[in-house]
């Protein structure tokens, strides 16, 4: 079961936060095809947000073909975003952790690491790598 968090100070509409967290779960394999998403009532009791917001997030995911609402039962995952790349996650994660370790040793704090990653990401995108 996926746990939602909603942050109102983030400036991102709550329904988008919910939808994004589901996509995130699908990407990381936390959610798989056939899994049931928490019901609207469960979500609002968990994070205290408007029920229509949850419905709206689920509707958006449904339009994207990621989930399917079954009347009277609930909402189920129909497609995953993890794909074949999921198998590579473990190895990539390990090298990334090793890299973070070396960055720390080099004296970078969290903000500097963030900035560096952001910068590299940006350059890579411009070079057409990412």
């Amino acid at each position: 079961m996926i746990e939602f968090r909603v942050e109102t100070t983030s400036g991102i509409a709550p329904y988008r936060q919910i939808a994004e967290q589901v996509r995130h779960g699908l990407r990381l394999g936390i959610l798989d095809v056939g899994d049931q998403l928490p019901t609207v009532k469960e979500v609002v009791a968990m994070v205290a947000i408007n029920p229509n917001t949850v419905s709206k997030a689920y509707r958006e995911l449904e339009l994207e073909g990621l989930v399917e609402g079954r009347a009277g039962i609930g909402t189920f995952v129909t497609r995953t975003l993890a794909g074949p790349s999921l198998a590579a996650h473990g190895e990539l994660r390990r090298t990334l952790l090793a890299w973070l370790e070396s960055a720390r040793r080099a004296g970078l704090d969290d903000a500097s690491i963030d900035a560096l990653v952001e910068h590299a990401f940006h350059d890579a995108r411009q070079d057409g790598v990412a």
């Binding site: 109102t8 009532k41 609002v44 009791a45 205290a48 229509n52 709206k56």
Partner: protein, 296 residues
């Protein structure tokens, strides 16, 4: 479908002072409505009018299709938690539920069990000895025990600590998920943003803005650009609030279409910012509100 609340030309006067004027509203059923405004803007007056604790000085209000407080049947359809959750301090928690059973024909006994499950209260404890959070929860349980179709709450979380506030909102949203219409007033815009899908902004006893939150956000934009004073905007764009520094102008507009002027940086705004823009526009005379109303 009948509206949860419908008001036309509604006004309430205390002596010579108008606490609320020219209020026309239609709030559909099944919504969680946030009522916001500064102190003295008329929030409590509007809520009291909608539960029949006050009578209008002018105009009309109907709640679920009937005049508020017009009889025992109408009273049974609307649950209310007044500001600071008044309870009988010398009566125990238990006795409050007995009162609920005696005074309401469709009483739901599960609210009592549910409250004890969640809060671990001593049923013999006097209401006067409860914490603010416990009082609010007990008052809410009493209001929903009558199985209302509409729940009206006046600043329900104002006196609660963050944890109690979260628990209260969780209970409330579970109810909303079951289809209960809710109207609540609050100063806490972050709470409103979280739980409400419909918002009403009051200032100086008048409605400045009312409507579906998503629809309202879709029609408003913040424009930032080089200073322009006086400011002229194309038809279809209404200035809600403008601010000028010596170099820059920042304008909140309500617009029917896209903003095409390339000299503006256009961005969306959140509910909190939107509400503040309307509240401010009502206080600063130089940035007077030029158009008010709810979307069609």
């Amino acid at each position: 479908m009948t509206d949860a609340i419908e008001a036309t030309g509604l006004g309430k006067r205390y002596g010579r002072r108008w606490a609320l004027r020219n209020t026309s509203l239609r709030v559909p059923e099944g919504r969680v409505v946030g009522l916001v405004g500064s102190n003295g803007a008329g929030k409590t007056t509007l809520l009291h009018l909608s539960v029949g604790l006050l009578d209008p000085s002018e105009g009309h209000i109907t709640v679920l299709g009937d005049r508020p407080g017009s009889g025992a049947r109408q009273l049974a359809r609307v649950g209310f938690v007044a500001q600071d959750a008044p309870l009988y301090n010398r009566m125990s928690v238990n006795e409050h539920f007995r009162m609920g059973v005696r005074l309401n024909p469709h009483w739901d006994a599960t609210v009592e069990v549910d409250l004890h499950d969640r809060l671990d209260l001593d049923p013999r404890q006097r209401a006067g000895a409860l914490s603010g959070g416990q009082r609010a929860q007990l008052a809410l349980a009493l209001a929903i025990g009558k199985r209302p179709e509409l729940l009206v709450l006046d600043e329900p979380v104002a006196s609660l600590d963050p944890l109690a506030r979260r628990e209260f909102m969780q209970s409330l949203m579970s109810l909303a998920a079951d289809g209960l219409s809710v109207v609540l007033s609050s100063h806490l815009l972050s709470d409103i943003e979280r739980v409400c899908d419909y918002v009403i902004v009051l200032a100086h006893g008048e409605v400045r803005l009312a409507g579906d939150v998503d629809a309202l956000l879709a029609e408003h934009r913040v424009l930032t650009g080089p200073r322009r004073d006086p400011l002229r905007l194309p038809a279809g764009q209404t200035i809600i609030r403008e601010r000028h520094t010596d170099r820059q102008s920042t304008v909140v507009v309500r617009t029917t279409g896209e903003v095409l002027d390339p000299s503006w940086t256009v961005s969306e705004l959140g509910l909190e910012e939107l509400v503040l823009a309307y509240m401010e526009s009502a206080t600063t005379p130089t940035t007077r509100l030029r158009s008010v109303g709810s979307p069609p």
